[in-house]
């Protein structure tokens, strides 16, 4: 068979002679694979993306302006709405930033509860990320299995805080409610099931699935230098081979005392930094989070239970100053830059550095030269939540 560039048939045409039209293709804001309201402007030549331009802001809710008009504790419900798939991590980051500004050190019991909640939230968040990614790639079943297990985590959260999605749980100097009686047992039941059934199933059915690997392991390769230059963090950067995790490298909440591994991409099925690697890191991190939750539960059973709002200040009024504090949220490093003027009870300025925002900033680099169908795979693997990008 003649190669397509050689003359074929009697007409003697070559592929270079064919006129192709460049077309602007608008993907979104209502496209199901954009995981929210994101519009991608793609300049395409046939199926190939020549240039891409993301348009964000459809979900802008003026978080930073609102934060200047409420008092410090009043910002916490708003932080829940940033990354609504992983609310616990957001309020934790904000609470820690303000605590650092005020010099509050919470009790070990509260710290352990916070770690427990943050890691359960990480499992739930990665479950959504991997599940929807599988669905983007055409695998519907893993999504159902993972959402089933996420539901169990949400039940635990509901039992503790009264809410299933937006918890308002981490307060400045404490948490809103103590763990209910029997929480450890229920949580262990969930962990046992997750570890015995769901996680092996996930690794076998989706992550180790040959179709899934073939579909994702060669595309969207992010070199580690590009990742650092564009400030990608979390699983996105670890997928490129970095082993940087704030829980290990700049520990907060006593993470340094827990025994867990930092997972990073190994390039087992293709180049390091591909779409597959990012999801692989997420899948392994779920198992690591299970380990941390188990250790936290063991500690909670042994340690002294102090009142959870013992250190909550009656009036939150930090001295004049500013702090930039970052935590390892499920999607990467979530930074809160809080400026206090020392005069009012409202923050002078709250700035959120969202990991999804910077992940979207590298999109045009990665999407260039891709097929349109692979763009869907790329967005899913970056694991963006538009609530956090647009704030």
């Amino acid at each position: 068979m003649a190669s397509p560039t050689q003359a074929t048939g009697g007409f003697g045409w070559q592929i270079e002679d064919l006129d192709t039209d460049e077309m602007i293709l608008n993907m979104g804001p209502q496209h199901p694979s954009t995981h929210g309201v994101l519009r991608l402007e793609l300049r395409t030549d046939g199926e190939v993306v020549k240039a891409a331009r993301p348009h964000i802001g459809y979900l802008h809710r003026c978080f930073e302006k609102h934060a200047e008009n409420v008092d410090y504790p009043g910002v916490i419900p708003y932080t829940d709405r940033l990354d609504y798939v992983a609310s616990m991590g957001n309020s934790l980051g904000y609470a820690l930033a303000v605590e650092k500004l005020m010099g509050i050190e919470v009790a070990p019991y509260v710290q352990t509860i916070r770690v427990l909640m943050a890691e359960l939230q990480r499992i739930a968040s990665h479950a959504v990320a991997i599940g929807t990614y599988g669905m983007d790639m055409g695998a519907f079943t893993p999504f159902l299995h993972l959402l089933r297990d996420r539901e169990k985590i949400l039940d635990l959260f509901e039992w503790t805080s009264g809410a299933r999605l937006l918890y308002n749980y981490n307060w400045i100097g404490g948490v809103s409610y103590d763990l209910p009686d029997g929480f450890a047992r229920a949580c262990r039941d969930f962990l046992d099931e997750f570890e015995r059934i769901t996680h092996p199933e996930l690794m076998d059915l989706l992550i180790g699935n040959k179709i899934f690997v073939k579909r994702t392991a060669e595309i969207g390769v992010l070199p580690i230098e590009v990742g650092i230059a564009y400030d990608l963090t979390g699983p996105n950067l670890r997928g490129s081979g970095a082993s940087y995790d704030l829980r290990k490298d700049e520990p907060y909440c006593g993470y340094e005392t827990y025994d867990f591994q930092v997972c990073s991409g190994q390039g087992r099925y293709g180049p390091v930094g591909s779409c597959f690697e990012r999801n692989w890191v997420r899948a392994l991190e779920m198992a690591e989070s299970v380990k941390i939750v188990r250790q936290a539960l063991d500690r909670i059973e042994k340690m002294e239970h102090t009142p959870v709002q013992e250190k909550c200040p009656k009036r939150v009024k930090p001295p004049k100053g500013e702090v930039y504090f970052r935590t390892e949220a499920p999607r990467g490093q979530l930074g809160f830059y809080v400026v206090a003027d020392g005069a009012g009870v409202n923050p002078y300025r709250v700035r959120v550095k969202s990991p999804c925002f910077t992940a979207m900033g590298v999109f045009h680099v990665l999407a260039k030269g891709m097929l349109i169908a692979d763009v869907v795979a790329l967005i899913g693997s970056l694991d963006i939540v538009l609530g956090e990008i647009d704030r």
Binding site: I228, A229, D231, A242, Y244, G335, R349, R351, F357, G361
Partner: protein, 190 residues
């Protein structure tokens, strides 16, 4: 490298370009003259003793009550190689906030600077794509400035809470009533 050593090394090279310094702050910072920020940023990235390969955060804070009134651009730097951090600041006047872009040093600055342009109205000279990013392209003004007043209408639609609007109409302000008021002054002109 700790902050004192970082500052000493930067001061040896840039001297009078470093306007102010605070070593006592929770995140110690250095204020750099606006015209020197690109040089300082490039040195912070390329000098092997600094190796600030990562821009963690870029934001701005508005200080209208300071004398003179200013907007601060804040750069939070981090080095993956050496694991140290540094905060650089640039003070620009509120009336004409102009600062050169550091997009060429850290590409991550591109979107952050667009956001600061959008919400604070700071112009970054040399930026490759300085457009609004979060707000609509036809938006007027820069909401994160402290003297921002919410507009009554956007494209002919009321954007204030209806109760507040009703009170103002009752007080005699010519605002019209209802969400789709079509008096000529309120209608969006194409």
């Amino acid at each position: 490298m700790d902050f004192a050593a970082l500052h000493a090394r930067l001061a040896a090279r840039f001297g009078d370009k470093l306007v102010a310094v605070s070593a006592e702050a929770l995140n110690p910072w250095i204020v750099v003259a606006p015209e020197a920020i690109v040089e300082v940023a490039a040195a912070a990235k390329d000098d092997a003793a600094f190796a600030f390969d990562n821009l963690m955060n870029l934001s701005a804070v508005d200080y209208p009550k300071e004398n003179p009134p200013r907007i601060e651009i804040v750069y939070h730097l981090f080095s993956y190689q050496l694991r140290h951090t540094l905060v650089l600041k640039v003070h620009v006047p509120r009336e004409q906030p102009v600062v050169p872009t550091v997009e060429g040093v850290w590409p991550a600055a591109n979107w952050h600077e667009r956001e600061v342009f959008d919400l604070f109205g700071v112009t970054f000279t040399g930026h490759s794509d300085l457009r609004r990013i979060l707000l609509p392209d036809d938006w007027q003004g820069h909401p994160l400035r402290k003297d921002w007043v919410d507009p009554d209408f956007y494209n002919g639609l009321h954007v204030k809470p209806p109760t507040q609007m009703a009170e103002r109409v009752a007080a005699g302000e010519p605002l019209g009533v209802g969400p789709f008021d079509q008096t000529p002054t309120n209608r969006h002109v194409e």
